[in-house]
Protein backbone atom coordinates (compact mmCIF):
# COMPACT_ATOMS: atom_id res chain seq x y z
CA UNK A 1 0.00 0.00 0.00
CA UNK A 2 1.35 3.37 -0.95
CA UNK A 3 -1.01 6.03 0.36
CA UNK A 4 -0.86 9.36 -1.35
CA UNK A 5 -0.06 12.33 0.78
CA UNK A 6 -2.71 14.98 0.33
CA UNK A 7 -0.50 18.04 0.47
CA UNK A 8 3.02 17.49 1.71
CA UNK A 9 4.21 20.90 0.56
CA UNK A 10 1.47 22.79 2.33
CA UNK A 11 1.96 21.09 5.66
CA UNK A 12 5.67 21.34 5.28
CA UNK A 13 5.51 25.05 4.68
CA UNK A 14 3.67 25.45 7.97
CA UNK A 15 6.31 23.42 9.74
CA UNK A 16 9.17 25.46 8.36
CA UNK A 17 7.55 28.75 9.23
CA UNK A 18 7.43 27.73 12.87
CA UNK A 19 11.04 27.94 13.83
CA UNK A 20 10.62 26.87 17.40
CA UNK A 21 11.63 23.41 18.45
CA UNK A 22 8.18 22.57 19.65
CA UNK A 23 6.53 20.83 16.76
CA UNK A 24 3.07 20.95 15.31
CA UNK A 25 0.81 21.59 18.30
CA UNK A 26 -1.30 24.20 16.53
CA UNK A 27 -1.78 22.18 13.38
CA UNK A 28 -2.95 19.03 15.08
CA UNK A 29 -5.26 20.87 17.49
CA UNK A 30 -6.76 22.88 14.65
CA UNK A 31 -7.08 19.78 12.59
CA UNK A 32 -8.97 18.03 15.36
CA UNK A 33 -11.38 20.94 15.68
CA UNK A 34 -11.81 21.19 11.94
CA UNK A 35 -12.37 17.46 11.59
CA UNK A 36 -14.93 17.58 14.40
CA UNK A 37 -16.85 20.38 12.73
CA UNK A 38 -16.70 18.68 9.34
CA UNK A 39 -17.89 15.39 10.84
CA UNK A 40 -20.81 17.06 12.59
CA UNK A 41 -21.78 18.88 9.40
CA UNK A 42 -21.59 15.68 7.36
CA UNK A 43 -24.46 14.15 9.34
CA UNK A 44 -27.77 15.50 7.98
CA UNK A 45 -29.54 15.45 11.35
CA UNK A 46 -26.72 17.40 12.94
CA UNK A 47 -26.78 19.88 10.09
CA UNK A 48 -30.43 20.65 10.87
CA UNK A 49 -29.42 21.07 14.51
CA UNK A 50 -26.62 23.48 13.66
CA UNK A 51 -28.97 25.56 11.50
CA UNK A 52 -31.61 25.64 14.24
CA UNK A 53 -29.10 26.55 16.91
CA UNK A 54 -27.66 29.24 14.64
CA UNK A 55 -31.13 30.75 14.31
CA UNK A 56 -31.61 30.93 18.08
CA UNK A 57 -28.13 32.30 18.69
CA UNK A 58 -28.76 35.08 16.13
CA UNK A 59 -32.10 35.77 17.80
CA UNK A 60 -30.40 35.95 21.19
CA UNK A 61 -27.57 38.20 20.08
CA UNK A 62 -29.64 40.63 18.05
CA UNK A 63 -32.76 40.54 20.24
CA UNK A 64 -32.79 44.32 20.94
CA UNK A 65 -32.64 45.01 17.19
CA UNK A 66 -35.19 42.43 16.11
CA UNK A 67 -37.82 42.76 18.83
CA UNK A 68 -40.54 45.29 17.93
CA UNK A 69 -40.94 46.54 21.53
CA UNK A 70 -39.22 46.61 24.87
CA UNK A 71 -40.19 43.24 26.38
CA UNK A 72 -40.97 44.69 29.81
CA UNK A 73 -43.00 47.60 28.49
CA UNK A 74 -46.48 46.92 29.97
CA UNK A 75 -48.24 49.92 28.50
CA UNK A 76 -50.28 47.91 26.00
CA UNK A 77 -53.76 46.52 26.36
CA UNK A 78 -54.03 43.40 28.50
CA UNK A 79 -54.45 39.88 27.12
CA UNK A 80 -54.98 41.15 23.58
CA UNK A 81 -55.39 38.72 20.72
CA UNK A 82 -53.19 38.67 17.59
CA UNK A 83 -53.08 41.98 15.76
CA UNK A 84 -50.89 43.79 13.26
CA UNK A 85 -49.28 45.71 16.10
CA UNK A 86 -48.85 42.63 18.29
CA UNK A 87 -48.34 39.54 16.10
CA UNK A 88 -48.65 37.23 19.07
CA UNK A 89 -50.89 39.41 21.18
CA UNK A 90 -50.08 40.77 24.63
CA UNK A 91 -49.72 39.22 28.06
CA UNK A 92 -52.06 39.62 31.00
CA UNK A 93 -49.71 42.35 32.23
CA UNK A 94 -49.90 44.15 28.88
CA UNK A 95 -46.50 43.26 27.40
CA UNK A 96 -45.81 42.32 23.78
CA UNK A 97 -45.53 38.52 23.54
CA UNK A 98 -43.35 38.44 20.42
CA UNK A 99 -40.78 40.77 21.99
CA UNK A 100 -40.71 38.59 25.08
CA UNK A 101 -40.17 35.46 23.00
CA UNK A 102 -37.27 37.08 21.13
CA UNK A 103 -35.64 38.35 24.30
CA UNK A 104 -36.27 35.02 26.02
CA UNK A 105 -33.87 33.45 23.53
CA UNK A 106 -31.01 35.47 25.10
CA UNK A 107 -31.71 34.04 28.54
CA UNK A 108 -31.96 30.43 27.39
CA UNK A 109 -28.94 30.58 25.11
CA UNK A 110 -26.91 32.33 27.82
CA UNK A 111 -27.88 29.86 30.55
CA UNK A 112 -27.33 26.88 28.23
CA UNK A 113 -23.92 28.10 27.14
CA UNK A 114 -22.58 29.17 30.52
CA UNK A 115 -24.01 26.29 32.55
CA UNK A 116 -23.01 23.79 29.85
CA UNK A 117 -19.49 25.19 29.76
CA UNK A 118 -19.05 25.22 33.55
CA UNK A 119 -20.47 21.70 33.90
CA UNK A 120 -18.15 20.48 31.17
CA UNK A 121 -15.12 22.10 32.76
CA UNK A 122 -15.90 20.41 36.09
CA UNK A 123 -16.66 17.13 34.30
CA UNK A 124 -13.38 17.20 32.37
CA UNK A 125 -11.32 18.09 35.44
CA UNK A 126 -12.87 15.42 37.62
CA UNK A 127 -13.13 12.86 34.84
CA UNK A 128 -9.45 13.13 33.93
CA UNK A 129 -8.15 13.12 37.50
CA UNK A 130 -10.45 10.29 38.43
CA UNK A 131 -9.40 8.27 35.42
CA UNK A 132 -5.85 8.45 36.71
CA UNK A 133 -6.61 7.44 40.28
CA UNK A 134 -6.69 3.81 41.18
CA UNK A 135 -6.50 4.05 44.95
CA UNK A 136 -9.09 4.74 47.61
CA UNK A 137 -9.49 8.36 46.45
CA UNK A 138 -10.77 6.99 43.17
CA UNK A 139 -13.32 4.90 45.03
CA UNK A 140 -14.47 7.91 47.02
CA UNK A 141 -14.91 10.00 43.88
CA UNK A 142 -16.74 7.07 42.33
CA UNK A 143 -19.16 7.07 45.24
CA UNK A 144 -19.72 10.82 45.15
CA UNK A 145 -20.31 10.84 41.38
CA UNK A 146 -22.73 7.95 41.62
CA UNK A 147 -24.54 9.75 44.43
CA UNK A 148 -24.93 12.84 42.26
CA UNK A 149 -26.11 10.64 39.40
CA UNK A 150 -28.86 8.86 41.32
CA UNK A 151 -30.09 11.76 43.44
CA UNK A 152 -32.97 13.24 41.43
CA UNK A 153 -31.55 16.51 40.16
CA UNK A 154 -34.68 18.60 39.85
CA UNK A 155 -35.88 18.18 43.46
CA UNK A 156 -32.36 18.98 44.63
CA UNK A 157 -32.34 22.09 42.45
CA UNK A 158 -35.76 23.07 43.74
CA UNK A 159 -34.67 22.74 47.36
CA UNK A 160 -31.45 24.70 46.85
CA UNK A 161 -33.25 27.33 44.82
CA UNK A 162 -35.91 27.65 47.51
CA UNK A 163 -33.24 28.35 50.11
CA UNK A 164 -31.51 30.90 47.88
CA UNK A 165 -34.85 32.68 47.21
CA UNK A 166 -35.31 34.59 43.96
CA UNK A 167 -31.64 34.54 43.11
CA UNK A 168 -32.10 35.17 39.40
CA UNK A 169 -30.08 33.76 36.53
CA UNK A 170 -26.82 33.43 38.50
CA UNK A 171 -28.49 31.24 41.09
CA UNK A 172 -30.13 29.10 38.43
CA UNK A 173 -26.81 28.55 36.67
CA UNK A 174 -25.28 27.64 40.02
CA UNK A 175 -27.84 24.94 40.85
CA UNK A 176 -27.81 23.57 37.32
CA UNK A 177 -24.03 23.21 37.36
CA UNK A 178 -23.99 21.67 40.85
CA UNK A 179 -26.34 18.92 39.70
CA UNK A 180 -25.25 18.64 36.08
CA UNK A 181 -21.55 17.70 35.98
CA UNK A 182 -21.70 14.09 37.17
CA UNK A 183 -22.77 12.41 33.96
CA UNK A 184 -20.01 13.95 31.90
CA UNK A 185 -17.43 13.17 34.57
CA UNK A 186 -18.39 9.53 34.50
CA UNK A 187 -18.27 9.20 30.73
CA UNK A 188 -14.95 11.03 30.49
CA UNK A 189 -13.44 8.99 33.29
CA UNK A 190 -14.06 5.67 31.58
CA UNK A 191 -12.65 7.06 28.34
CA UNK A 192 -9.58 8.32 30.22
CA UNK A 193 -9.08 4.90 31.74
CA UNK A 194 -9.29 3.21 28.38
CA UNK A 195 -6.97 5.73 26.72
CA UNK A 196 -4.30 5.71 29.41
CA UNK A 197 -3.78 1.98 28.97
CA UNK A 198 -3.24 2.37 25.22
CA UNK A 199 0.21 1.74 23.87
CA UNK A 200 0.62 5.24 22.51
CA UNK A 201 0.31 6.68 26.00
CA UNK A 202 2.95 4.27 27.30
CA UNK A 203 5.02 5.22 24.28
CA UNK A 204 4.80 8.89 25.26
CA UNK A 205 6.23 7.96 28.67
CA UNK A 206 9.06 6.22 26.85
CA UNK A 207 9.55 9.36 24.77
CA UNK A 208 10.20 11.25 27.99
CA UNK A 209 6.99 13.29 28.07
CA UNK A 210 5.76 14.46 31.47
CA UNK A 211 2.31 13.70 32.95
CA UNK A 212 0.82 17.10 32.08
CA UNK A 213 1.90 16.85 28.47
CA UNK A 214 0.57 13.31 28.23
CA UNK A 215 -2.82 14.33 29.59
CA UNK A 216 -3.18 17.44 27.45
CA UNK A 217 -1.52 16.27 24.24
CA UNK A 218 -2.13 12.53 24.08
CA UNK A 219 -5.30 11.85 26.03
CA UNK A 220 -7.42 14.99 25.87
CA UNK A 221 -7.37 15.45 22.07
CA UNK A 222 -8.64 11.90 21.69
CA UNK A 223 -11.65 12.73 23.82
CA UNK A 224 -12.75 15.77 21.80
CA UNK A 225 -15.96 14.16 20.62
CA UNK A 226 -16.95 13.07 24.10
CA UNK A 227 -16.19 16.47 25.58
CA UNK A 228 -18.17 18.25 22.88
CA UNK A 229 -20.94 15.72 23.37
CA UNK A 230 -21.09 16.24 27.10
CA UNK A 231 -21.12 20.00 26.59
CA UNK A 232 -24.21 19.80 24.38
CA UNK A 233 -25.79 17.31 26.76
CA UNK A 234 -25.18 19.54 29.77
CA UNK A 235 -26.41 22.61 27.89
CA UNK A 236 -29.64 20.83 26.95
CA UNK A 237 -30.22 19.78 30.53
CA UNK A 238 -29.45 23.31 31.72
CA UNK A 239 -31.96 24.90 29.34
CA UNK A 240 -34.70 22.48 30.39
CA UNK A 241 -33.90 22.85 34.08
CA UNK A 242 -33.85 26.62 33.90
CA UNK A 243 -37.26 26.61 32.27
CA UNK A 244 -38.58 24.16 34.87
CA UNK A 245 -37.33 26.18 37.82
CA UNK A 246 -38.70 29.43 36.44
CA UNK A 247 -41.98 27.76 35.62
CA UNK A 248 -42.28 26.91 39.31
CA UNK A 249 -41.56 30.55 40.13
CA UNK A 250 -38.21 29.78 41.67
CA UNK A 251 -36.22 32.26 39.64
CA UNK A 252 -36.55 35.99 39.53
CA UNK A 253 -40.05 36.29 38.06
CA UNK A 254 -39.24 39.66 36.50
CA UNK A 255 -36.56 38.11 34.25
CA UNK A 256 -37.67 37.92 30.64
CA UNK A 257 -37.35 34.25 29.76
CA UNK A 258 -39.41 31.46 28.23
CA UNK A 259 -39.70 29.79 31.63
CA UNK A 260 -41.11 32.90 33.34
CA UNK A 261 -43.47 33.43 30.39
CA UNK A 262 -44.92 29.99 31.07
CA UNK A 263 -45.04 30.77 34.79
CA UNK A 264 -47.08 33.91 34.16
CA UNK A 265 -49.21 32.17 31.56
CA UNK A 266 -50.19 29.48 34.05
CA UNK A 267 -50.68 31.99 36.88
CA UNK A 268 -52.78 34.38 34.82
CA UNK A 269 -54.95 31.50 33.65
CA UNK A 270 -54.11 31.79 29.99
CA UNK A 271 -55.63 28.32 29.77
CA UNK A 272 -59.05 29.64 30.67
CA UNK A 273 -58.88 32.78 28.55
CA UNK A 274 -57.90 30.67 25.54
CA UNK A 275 -54.65 32.54 24.84
CA UNK A 276 -52.92 29.35 23.80
CA UNK A 277 -50.04 31.18 22.15
CA UNK A 278 -48.77 32.15 25.60
CA UNK A 279 -48.31 28.46 26.37
CA UNK A 280 -47.47 27.27 22.94
CA UNK A 281 -44.77 29.68 21.77
CA UNK A 282 -42.34 29.68 24.73
CA UNK A 283 -42.60 25.91 25.17
CA UNK A 284 -42.03 25.31 21.47
CA UNK A 285 -38.95 27.52 21.55
CA UNK A 286 -37.53 25.63 24.54
CA UNK A 287 -38.20 22.34 22.78
CA UNK A 288 -36.68 23.47 19.50
CA UNK A 289 -33.57 24.82 21.18
CA UNK A 290 -33.15 21.59 23.17
CA UNK A 291 -33.82 19.53 20.02
CA UNK A 292 -31.20 21.46 18.07
CA UNK A 293 -28.58 20.53 20.68
CA UNK A 294 -29.66 16.86 20.69
CA UNK A 295 -29.53 16.82 16.90
CA UNK A 296 -26.00 18.22 16.91
CA UNK A 297 -25.09 15.43 19.29
CA UNK A 298 -26.02 12.92 16.59
CA UNK A 299 -23.10 14.27 14.62
CA UNK A 300 -20.84 14.16 17.65
CA UNK A 301 -21.80 10.51 18.20
CA UNK A 302 -20.65 9.83 14.66
CA UNK A 303 -17.15 10.86 15.70
CA UNK A 304 -16.73 8.18 18.30
CA UNK A 305 -19.09 5.45 17.20
CA UNK A 306 -18.92 4.72 13.48
CA UNK A 307 -21.62 2.09 13.79
CA UNK A 308 -24.12 4.77 14.74
CA UNK A 309 -23.61 6.50 11.45
CA UNK A 310 -26.51 6.64 9.11
CA UNK A 311 -27.00 4.03 6.45
CA UNK A 312 -25.88 0.41 6.23
CA UNK A 313 -29.32 -1.18 6.02
CA UNK A 314 -29.52 -4.67 7.31
Amino acid sequence: MTPSTPDPQGTHAVMVRRKQADVAPATSALRVVWRAVATIWSVPKARVGVALLGFFVLLAVFAPLIAPYDPSDNSFGRSEDFSAAHWMGTTAAGQDVLSQIIHGASTSVFVGFVAGLLSTIIAVTIGLTWGYLRNITGDVINFVVNLFLVIPALPLMIVIAAYLQNGGIGMIIFVVVITGWAWGARVLRSQTQSLRSRDFVTAAVFSGDGPARIVFREILPNMTSLIVGSFFGAATAAILAEAGLEFLGLGDSTTISWGTMLFWAQNSNALLTGQWILLFAPGLCISLLATSLSLINFGVDGLSNPRLREGANR
Binding site: K45, F143, N146, L147, L149, V150, I151, P152, A153, L154, P155, L156, I158, V159, I160, A162, Y163, L164, Q165, W183, T236, L240, A243, G244, F247, L248, G249, L250, L262, A265, Q266, L271, L272, G274, W276, L279, F280, G283, I286, S287, L288, A290, T291, S294, L295, F298, D301, N305, R307, L308, G311, A312, N313, R314
Partner: protein, 326 residues
Protein backbone atom coordinates in the same frame (compact mmCIF):
# COMPACT_ATOMS: atom_id res chain seq x y z
CA UNK B 1 -24.46 -13.87 46.98
CA UNK B 2 -21.36 -11.68 47.13
CA UNK B 3 -22.96 -9.57 44.43
CA UNK B 4 -26.09 -9.09 46.53
CA UNK B 5 -24.11 -8.25 49.67
CA UNK B 6 -22.03 -5.67 47.80
CA UNK B 7 -25.16 -4.06 46.43
CA UNK B 8 -26.89 -3.97 49.83
CA UNK B 9 -23.79 -2.46 51.39
CA UNK B 10 -23.65 0.18 48.69
CA UNK B 11 -27.35 0.93 49.16
CA UNK B 12 -26.89 1.49 52.89
CA UNK B 13 -23.91 3.73 52.26
CA UNK B 14 -25.76 5.74 49.62
CA UNK B 15 -28.82 6.11 51.86
CA UNK B 16 -26.59 7.40 54.64
CA UNK B 17 -24.97 9.88 52.25
CA UNK B 18 -28.34 11.13 51.02
CA UNK B 19 -29.63 11.56 54.58
CA UNK B 20 -26.46 13.42 55.51
CA UNK B 21 -26.74 15.63 52.44
CA UNK B 22 -30.26 16.47 53.54
CA UNK B 23 -28.85 17.42 56.96
CA UNK B 24 -26.11 19.57 55.48
CA UNK B 25 -28.16 21.39 52.84
CA UNK B 26 -29.91 23.91 55.08
CA UNK B 27 -26.73 24.41 57.10
CA UNK B 28 -24.69 25.22 54.03
CA UNK B 29 -27.15 27.86 52.90
CA UNK B 30 -26.74 31.51 53.76
CA UNK B 31 -29.02 32.83 56.51
CA UNK B 32 -30.86 30.66 58.99
CA UNK B 33 -33.85 28.95 57.44
CA UNK B 34 -34.78 27.56 60.84
CA UNK B 35 -35.27 31.02 62.31
CA UNK B 36 -37.35 32.00 59.33
CA UNK B 37 -39.35 28.81 59.67
CA UNK B 38 -39.97 29.27 63.40
CA UNK B 39 -40.94 32.87 62.84
CA UNK B 40 -43.38 31.77 60.17
CA UNK B 41 -44.72 28.99 62.34
CA UNK B 42 -45.24 31.41 65.21
CA UNK B 43 -47.85 33.20 63.10
CA UNK B 44 -50.07 30.13 63.44
CA UNK B 45 -49.86 30.09 67.22
CA UNK B 46 -47.42 29.43 70.00
CA UNK B 47 -44.50 27.17 69.17
CA UNK B 48 -43.86 24.43 71.70
CA UNK B 49 -40.32 23.69 72.78
CA UNK B 50 -40.50 20.22 71.30
CA UNK B 51 -41.53 21.60 67.93
CA UNK B 52 -38.79 24.21 68.09
CA UNK B 53 -36.16 21.58 68.88
CA UNK B 54 -37.43 19.42 66.08
CA UNK B 55 -37.29 22.22 63.54
CA UNK B 56 -33.85 23.19 64.70
CA UNK B 57 -32.66 19.63 64.32
CA UNK B 58 -34.15 19.46 60.85
CA UNK B 59 -32.95 22.80 59.59
CA UNK B 60 -29.97 23.59 61.68
CA UNK B 61 -29.77 26.31 64.27
CA UNK B 62 -26.37 27.04 65.67
CA UNK B 63 -27.15 25.59 69.10
CA UNK B 64 -25.19 22.63 70.38
CA UNK B 65 -22.31 21.19 68.46
CA UNK B 66 -22.85 20.21 64.84
CA UNK B 67 -22.26 16.63 65.84
CA UNK B 68 -25.00 16.68 68.51
CA UNK B 69 -27.39 18.17 65.99
CA UNK B 70 -26.43 15.45 63.53
CA UNK B 71 -27.08 12.70 66.05
CA UNK B 72 -30.44 14.13 66.96
CA UNK B 73 -31.31 14.48 63.30
CA UNK B 74 -30.36 10.87 62.59
CA UNK B 75 -32.51 9.78 65.52
CA UNK B 76 -35.45 11.77 64.18
CA UNK B 77 -35.07 10.34 60.70
CA UNK B 78 -34.94 6.82 62.12
CA UNK B 79 -38.31 7.47 63.77
CA UNK B 80 -39.74 9.03 60.60
CA UNK B 81 -39.97 12.31 62.49
CA UNK B 82 -39.44 15.06 59.94
CA UNK B 83 -41.01 17.75 62.05
CA UNK B 84 -44.21 19.70 61.60
CA UNK B 85 -45.40 21.43 58.48
CA UNK B 86 -46.46 24.98 59.04
CA UNK B 87 -48.43 25.30 55.83
CA UNK B 88 -50.68 22.54 57.07
CA UNK B 89 -50.10 23.20 60.78
CA UNK B 90 -50.24 21.16 62.92
CA UNK B 91 -49.96 18.15 60.63
CA UNK B 92 -46.68 16.27 60.70
CA UNK B 93 -44.50 16.17 57.63
CA UNK B 94 -44.42 12.38 57.80
CA UNK B 95 -48.20 12.21 57.68
CA UNK B 96 -48.47 14.61 54.74
CA UNK B 97 -45.78 12.79 52.78
CA UNK B 98 -47.38 9.45 53.59
CA UNK B 99 -50.68 10.64 52.12
CA UNK B 100 -49.11 12.01 48.95
CA UNK B 101 -46.58 9.27 48.24
CA UNK B 102 -48.96 6.51 47.04
CA UNK B 103 -50.38 8.74 44.29
CA UNK B 104 -46.93 9.47 42.93
CA UNK B 105 -45.64 5.94 43.34
CA UNK B 106 -48.53 4.47 41.40
CA UNK B 107 -48.66 7.14 38.71
CA UNK B 108 -44.97 7.74 38.11
CA UNK B 109 -43.84 4.21 38.96
CA UNK B 110 -46.30 2.40 36.71
CA UNK B 111 -45.99 4.82 33.82
CA UNK B 112 -42.20 4.74 33.97
CA UNK B 113 -42.13 0.95 33.87
CA UNK B 114 -44.61 0.91 30.99
CA UNK B 115 -42.63 3.59 29.14
CA UNK B 116 -39.37 1.72 29.62
CA UNK B 117 -40.80 -1.56 28.37
CA UNK B 118 -42.56 0.06 25.42
CA UNK B 119 -39.52 2.18 24.56
CA UNK B 120 -37.24 -0.84 24.73
CA UNK B 121 -39.48 -2.86 22.43
CA UNK B 122 -39.75 0.01 19.95
CA UNK B 123 -35.98 0.48 20.10
CA UNK B 124 -35.42 -3.21 19.35
CA UNK B 125 -37.81 -2.97 16.43
CA UNK B 126 -36.17 0.22 15.12
CA UNK B 127 -32.70 -1.34 15.19
CA UNK B 128 -33.87 -4.62 13.67
CA UNK B 129 -35.73 -2.85 10.86
CA UNK B 130 -33.02 -0.29 10.42
CA UNK B 131 -33.60 2.23 7.66
CA UNK B 132 -37.32 1.50 7.29
CA UNK B 133 -40.13 3.72 8.55
CA UNK B 134 -40.25 1.58 11.70
CA UNK B 135 -36.80 2.99 12.42
CA UNK B 136 -37.13 6.56 11.17
CA UNK B 137 -40.48 7.38 12.74
CA UNK B 138 -39.69 6.47 16.36
CA UNK B 139 -36.15 7.84 16.10
CA UNK B 140 -37.09 11.25 14.81
CA UNK B 141 -40.26 11.44 16.91
CA UNK B 142 -38.37 10.29 19.98
CA UNK B 143 -35.61 12.84 19.53
CA UNK B 144 -38.11 15.64 19.24
CA UNK B 145 -40.46 14.50 22.03
CA UNK B 146 -37.66 13.94 24.52
CA UNK B 147 -36.62 17.57 24.08
CA UNK B 148 -40.07 18.71 25.27
CA UNK B 149 -40.03 19.99 28.80
CA UNK B 150 -42.33 17.74 30.84
CA UNK B 151 -44.44 20.62 32.05
CA UNK B 152 -44.96 21.96 28.57
CA UNK B 153 -46.29 18.68 27.23
CA UNK B 154 -48.51 18.65 30.29
CA UNK B 155 -49.75 22.18 29.65
CA UNK B 156 -50.51 21.42 25.99
CA UNK B 157 -52.44 18.25 26.79
CA UNK B 158 -54.27 20.04 29.59
CA UNK B 159 -55.20 22.93 27.34
CA UNK B 160 -56.27 21.03 24.24
CA UNK B 161 -57.71 17.80 25.66
CA UNK B 162 -58.83 19.23 28.97
CA UNK B 163 -60.09 22.77 28.35
CA UNK B 164 -60.74 23.01 24.62
CA UNK B 165 -62.12 19.53 23.95
CA UNK B 166 -63.20 18.81 27.52
CA UNK B 167 -62.43 15.12 27.20
CA UNK B 168 -60.50 14.84 30.43
CA UNK B 169 -60.68 16.35 33.91
CA UNK B 170 -58.32 19.27 34.31
CA UNK B 171 -57.36 18.97 37.94
CA UNK B 172 -56.88 16.55 40.80
CA UNK B 173 -56.58 12.78 41.13
CA UNK B 174 -60.27 12.05 41.55
CA UNK B 175 -63.57 13.78 41.15
CA UNK B 176 -64.68 16.53 43.50
CA UNK B 177 -66.55 15.06 46.45
CA UNK B 178 -65.30 11.52 46.00
CA UNK B 179 -63.45 9.94 48.89
CA UNK B 180 -60.53 7.59 48.32
CA UNK B 181 -61.72 4.01 48.83
CA UNK B 182 -61.26 0.66 47.15
CA UNK B 183 -64.39 0.54 45.07
CA UNK B 184 -64.62 -0.02 41.35
CA UNK B 185 -66.22 3.35 40.81
CA UNK B 186 -63.53 5.25 42.65
CA UNK B 187 -60.68 3.37 40.98
CA UNK B 188 -62.20 4.07 37.59
CA UNK B 189 -62.53 7.74 38.47
CA UNK B 190 -58.90 7.82 39.63
CA UNK B 191 -57.77 6.10 36.43
CA UNK B 192 -59.68 8.64 34.36
CA UNK B 193 -58.01 11.48 36.22
CA UNK B 194 -54.57 9.93 35.83
CA UNK B 195 -54.77 9.53 32.07
CA UNK B 196 -53.50 12.97 31.10
CA UNK B 197 -50.57 13.06 33.54
CA UNK B 198 -49.70 9.49 32.57
CA UNK B 199 -49.78 10.32 28.87
CA UNK B 200 -47.51 13.29 29.50
CA UNK B 201 -44.86 11.22 31.25
CA UNK B 202 -45.16 8.49 28.62
CA UNK B 203 -44.75 10.86 25.66
CA UNK B 204 -41.81 12.70 27.15
CA UNK B 205 -39.82 9.76 28.50
CA UNK B 206 -40.52 7.23 25.74
CA UNK B 207 -38.15 8.82 23.22
CA UNK B 208 -35.12 8.46 25.46
CA UNK B 209 -35.71 4.76 26.02
CA UNK B 210 -36.25 4.16 22.28
CA UNK B 211 -33.05 5.96 21.28
CA UNK B 212 -30.98 4.29 23.99
CA UNK B 213 -32.15 0.79 23.16
CA UNK B 214 -31.80 1.36 19.43
CA UNK B 215 -28.20 2.42 19.72
CA UNK B 216 -27.09 -0.44 22.00
CA UNK B 217 -29.06 -2.89 19.88
CA UNK B 218 -27.29 -1.71 16.72
CA UNK B 219 -24.01 -2.36 18.51
CA UNK B 220 -24.93 -5.89 19.55
CA UNK B 221 -26.24 -6.65 16.06
CA UNK B 222 -22.68 -6.21 14.86
CA UNK B 223 -21.32 -8.60 17.48
CA UNK B 224 -19.87 -11.93 16.48
CA UNK B 225 -22.39 -14.04 18.37
CA UNK B 226 -25.19 -12.51 16.31
CA UNK B 227 -23.38 -13.27 13.04
CA UNK B 228 -22.67 -16.79 14.27
CA UNK B 229 -26.30 -17.29 15.27
CA UNK B 230 -27.33 -16.24 11.77
CA UNK B 231 -24.73 -18.56 10.27
CA UNK B 232 -26.32 -21.38 12.26
CA UNK B 233 -29.69 -20.59 10.75
CA UNK B 234 -31.50 -19.65 13.94
CA UNK B 235 -34.94 -18.16 13.49
CA UNK B 236 -34.74 -14.39 12.92
CA UNK B 237 -36.95 -13.82 15.95
CA UNK B 238 -34.61 -15.86 18.16
CA UNK B 239 -31.60 -13.94 16.85
CA UNK B 240 -33.27 -10.58 17.39
CA UNK B 241 -34.61 -11.26 20.87
CA UNK B 242 -32.54 -13.91 22.59
CA UNK B 243 -29.20 -12.94 21.10
CA UNK B 244 -29.19 -9.26 20.19
CA UNK B 245 -31.85 -7.64 22.38
CA UNK B 246 -31.11 -9.81 25.40
CA UNK B 247 -27.56 -8.46 25.47
CA UNK B 248 -28.46 -4.93 24.44
CA UNK B 249 -30.82 -4.51 27.36
CA UNK B 250 -28.07 -4.87 29.96
CA UNK B 251 -26.32 -1.52 29.45
CA UNK B 252 -29.76 0.02 29.01
CA UNK B 253 -30.88 -1.16 32.42
CA UNK B 254 -28.00 0.74 33.96
CA UNK B 255 -28.94 3.92 32.16
CA UNK B 256 -32.56 3.29 33.15
CA UNK B 257 -31.50 3.41 36.78
CA UNK B 258 -29.55 6.59 36.25
CA UNK B 259 -32.27 8.28 34.22
CA UNK B 260 -34.92 7.53 36.84
CA UNK B 261 -34.02 10.64 38.82
CA UNK B 262 -34.71 12.79 35.77
CA UNK B 263 -38.07 11.16 35.09
CA UNK B 264 -39.13 11.57 38.70
CA UNK B 265 -38.04 15.21 38.64
CA UNK B 266 -40.02 15.84 35.45
CA UNK B 267 -43.07 14.10 36.86
CA UNK B 268 -43.06 16.45 39.84
CA UNK B 269 -43.66 19.34 37.45
CA UNK B 270 -46.40 17.37 35.73
CA UNK B 271 -48.18 16.98 39.07
CA UNK B 272 -47.98 20.72 39.55
CA UNK B 273 -49.66 21.35 36.19
CA UNK B 274 -52.50 18.92 36.86
CA UNK B 275 -52.79 19.72 40.59
CA UNK B 276 -52.26 16.02 41.13
CA UNK B 277 -52.01 15.41 44.91
CA UNK B 278 -48.66 13.59 44.85
CA UNK B 279 -45.29 14.50 46.30
CA UNK B 280 -44.51 16.82 43.39
CA UNK B 281 -47.51 18.99 44.01
CA UNK B 282 -46.80 18.91 47.73
CA UNK B 283 -43.20 19.96 47.08
CA UNK B 284 -44.47 22.85 44.98
CA UNK B 285 -46.81 23.89 47.80
CA UNK B 286 -43.95 23.67 50.29
CA UNK B 287 -41.67 25.78 48.10
CA UNK B 288 -44.26 28.46 47.45
CA UNK B 289 -45.00 28.72 51.19
CA UNK B 290 -41.36 28.37 52.20
CA UNK B 291 -42.36 25.40 54.30
CA UNK B 292 -38.80 24.18 54.89
CA UNK B 293 -39.54 21.14 57.08
CA UNK B 294 -41.97 19.80 54.53
CA UNK B 295 -39.53 20.54 51.71
CA UNK B 296 -36.68 18.74 53.42
CA UNK B 297 -38.84 15.76 54.29
CA UNK B 298 -40.10 15.51 50.72
CA UNK B 299 -36.65 15.76 49.24
CA UNK B 300 -35.46 12.96 51.48
CA UNK B 301 -38.39 10.71 50.62
CA UNK B 302 -38.05 11.34 46.88
CA UNK B 303 -34.33 10.62 47.04
CA UNK B 304 -34.82 7.43 49.04
CA UNK B 305 -37.49 6.24 46.60
CA UNK B 306 -35.18 6.76 43.65
CA UNK B 307 -32.33 5.02 45.47
CA UNK B 308 -34.56 2.03 46.21
CA UNK B 309 -35.70 1.87 42.59
CA UNK B 310 -32.08 1.94 41.52
CA UNK B 311 -31.29 -0.86 43.90
CA UNK B 312 -34.04 -2.98 42.39
CA UNK B 313 -32.70 -2.26 38.89
CA UNK B 314 -29.22 -3.30 40.05
CA UNK B 315 -30.52 -6.58 41.41
CA UNK B 316 -32.43 -7.17 38.20
CA UNK B 317 -29.22 -6.60 36.27
CA UNK B 318 -27.50 -9.19 38.42
CA UNK B 319 -30.23 -11.70 37.65
CA UNK B 320 -30.08 -11.02 33.91
CA UNK B 321 -26.31 -11.13 33.54
CA UNK B 322 -24.62 -14.43 34.41
CA UNK B 323 -21.25 -12.67 34.48
CA UNK B 324 -22.10 -10.84 37.71
CA UNK B 325 -23.08 -14.06 39.44
CA UNK B 326 -19.58 -15.42 39.59
Amino acid sequence: MRFLLTKVGLLVLTLWAAITLNFLLPRLMPGSPADAAIAKLAQNGPVSNATRASIEAQLGVPTGSMFDQYLQYLGNVAQFDFGVSYTFFPQSVAGLVGAALPWTLVLVGLVTIVAFIAGTLLGVLAAWKRGTWLDTLPTVGGTFASAFPYFWTALLLLFFLGYVLGWFPTSGAYGRGATPEFTGAFLLDALYHSLLPATTILITSLGGWILGMRSTMINTLGDDYVTFAEANGLRPRTVAIRYAARNAILPNLTSFGLALGGVVGGSLLVERVFNYPGVGYLLYTAVVNQDFPLMQGLFLIITISVLMANFIVDILYGILDPRTRR
